[in-house]
């Protein structure tokens, strides 16, 4: 279980990121942030919580309460939405389960 946990922890850490949302024209108005998961690195796709987008919804938060709303396009939020994603440095896991620290560009046998 110990080695399995270590590998699971490493994989979880490499998928973790933090997402911040702020107003491009009013950065002083503050920022909203949450955690996220990196689904793919190339191209970079991240899934995060939707709560941080509430202040940016053009039609207000009621949009989310609409029963038939399952998904909304990105332009449901105002143009001044500025998003940033930050993650920890990549440490690729080799086939032997060991981690190569700090060597950029390495990857698993097949991502």
């Amino acid at each position: 279980m110990g080695r399995q946990w270590r590998l699971a922890m490493r994989a979880a850490e490499q998928a973790g990121c933090v997402v911040s949302a702020s107003r491009a024209k009013q950065p002083e108005a503050g920022s909203w942030s949450c955690s996220g998961v990196i689904l793919s690195r190339n191209p970079g796709l991240v899934l995060c919580h939707g709560g941080i987008f509430l202040p940016f919804l053009r039609a207000g938060s009621e949009t989310l309460a609409t029963a038939e709303a399952i998904f909304l396009p990105g332009d449901s939020c105002g143009d001044d939405l500025r998003l940033q994603v930050q993650w920890a440095p990549t440490a690729a896991v080799g086939s032997n389960g060991l981690v190569d620290q700090g060597r950029p560009g390495l990857c698993t046998p097949q991502c």
Binding site: M1, Q4, W5, L7, A8, A11, A12, E13, Q14, A15, G16, V18, V19, S20, S33, C34, S35, G36, V37, L39, S40, R41, N42, P43, G44, L45, L47, C48, H49, G50, G51, I52, F53, L54, S61, L64, A65, I70, F71, L72, P73, G74, C77, L81, L83, V85, Q86, W87, A88, P89, T90, A92, V93, Q101, P104, G105, C107, T108, Q110, C111
Partner: protein
């Protein structure tokens, strides 16, 4: 060293990546998650629940609370703008666990950033271990500790590595101004499916992105409304006594052990609910409850009908784990610590239980009212009295 902050410490000896710009591709929700959430927490009884990431003393406006509830089941797909410095950056392979393939009680690992973007040098990728505590469709519960800002964190299976089970929907759940300590999750599989569908509908030009989404592992199956869990868990029953409720353990087909504080006062008739394959409700009678002054917070309930089909636990002989008797409350601050519990070894209760089962004699239980002073001291969270030093005179 002074108190002035120094340069940020590198994470695990390596510097953090510079934040990257990203664009919002779409917002999505899981309709099943929303439906289950509405069913479980949407009625009047649910008024005492709070899913806000703030302490219960914080007086959020009604609008704020409504907004938070609306957003609870919503997630967002972002595309990170490519970086020129790292042309080819890849992480470990990820897959998504199919709905229902992770059993109740399975170990889980949550990885998130408590307090969001605040101080990522310390908080980014904070790990927390727990189990899948319960499941209702795609609405999952875990006891892994998650803090405000952890919304959106990935929750992974313990193995094989890189299996995404769920995303955190609400990291803190308060009920009646007490922290419950469970975290609400939304299963990842229906979310990823929703992403695929949404990409096709809303962004046909980006439909190719669906190909890089993590694949689903395991055979999807139709889920029961609730995960049945391991068979021994059926011995745990709900005990309702007037407005008070708590847990109990069926120790014989007609006998349930619970806590005295669950069946308080004059109420002697209680309702016992058992959640096996079908929900069973049986009336019972409190035949014994320790006195208020006793440190053993124990009550015995005799049922009017037998609990059929429940595996009755076999009490251990050399093990000092027993029923949970009480959690801990600091009467000065009013704070409750749900994770600090007193337990009564079943080895201590077993002789009385056996005597009652065989002869109907409650005398064995009555001995619990006369606990020795050291046990009284522990119950009051007092320090053991030192021996009084003898006078040399």
């Amino acid at each position: 060293a002074g108190l002035e902050p120094g340069p940020p410490a590198p994470l695990h000896g390596r510097s953090l990546q510079t934040p990257r710009r990203a664009e919002l591709l779409l917002l999505l929700s899981c309709p099943d998650f929303r439906a289950h959430f509405e069913r479980l927490f949407g009625d009047e009884e649910a008024e005492q629940w709070r899913f806000a990431s703030v302490a219960p003393d914080y007086e959020a406006s009604e609008d704020e609370e409504e907004d938070q509830l609306r957003a609870l089941g919503w997630f967002a797909l972002l595309r990170v703008r490519p970086s020129l410095e790292v042309a080819e950056e890849r992480g470990p392979a990820m897959a998504v666990a199919s709905l229902g393939t992770v059993p109740k009680g399975a170990p889980l690992l949550a990885c998130g950033s408590p307090f969001g973007a605040f101080c990522p040098d310390i908080f980014l990728n904070t790990l927390s271990r727990g189990v899948l505590s319960n499941a209702a469709g795609p609405l999952l519960l875990t006891d892994a500790r998650c803090l405000p800002g952890s919304e959106g964190s990935g929750v992974f299976a313990a193995g094989p590595p890189g299996i995404l089970v769920a995303l955190v929907a609400a990291p803190l759940c308060w009920k009646a101004r007490e922290w419950v300590g469970l975290t609400l999750l939304c299963a990842a599989a229906p979310l990823i499916r929703a992403v695929r569908t949404a990409l096709g509908h809303l962004r046909p030009a980006d439909a190719a992105l669906a190909a890089v989404l993590p694949p689903e592992l395991g055979t999807p199956r139709v889920l029961p409304l609730r995960s049945p869990g391991p068979p021994w868990a059926a011995a745990a029953v709900l005990v309702e006594c007037g407005a008070v409720w708590g847990s109990g353990v069926a120790v014989a087909p007609h006998l349930v052990l619970t806590c005295r504080h669950v069946v308080p006062g004059e109420e002697s008739r209680v309702l016992v609910r058992c959640d096996t394959t079908e929900s069973v409700t049986i009336w019972g009678r409190v035949v014994f409850a320790t006195q208020e002054t006793s440190p053993y917070d124990v009550a015995v309930v005799s049922l009017e009908e037998a609990l059929d089909g429940i595996p009755i636990p076999v009490p251990t002989k050399h093990f000092n784990e027993g029923i949970i008797a009480s959690n801990t409350r600091d009467n000065t601050t009013g704070a409750t610590y749900p994770h600090l519990n007193f337990s009564i070894p079943i080895t201590l209760l077993q002789p009385a239980l056996r005597r009652y089962s065989e002869t109907g004699d409650l005398g064995g239980f009555q001995e619990l009212d006369y606990a020795t002073e050291p046990i009284q001291v522990v119950w009051r969270l007092q320090r053991p009295l030192n021996e009084v030093p003898r006078s040399k005179l």
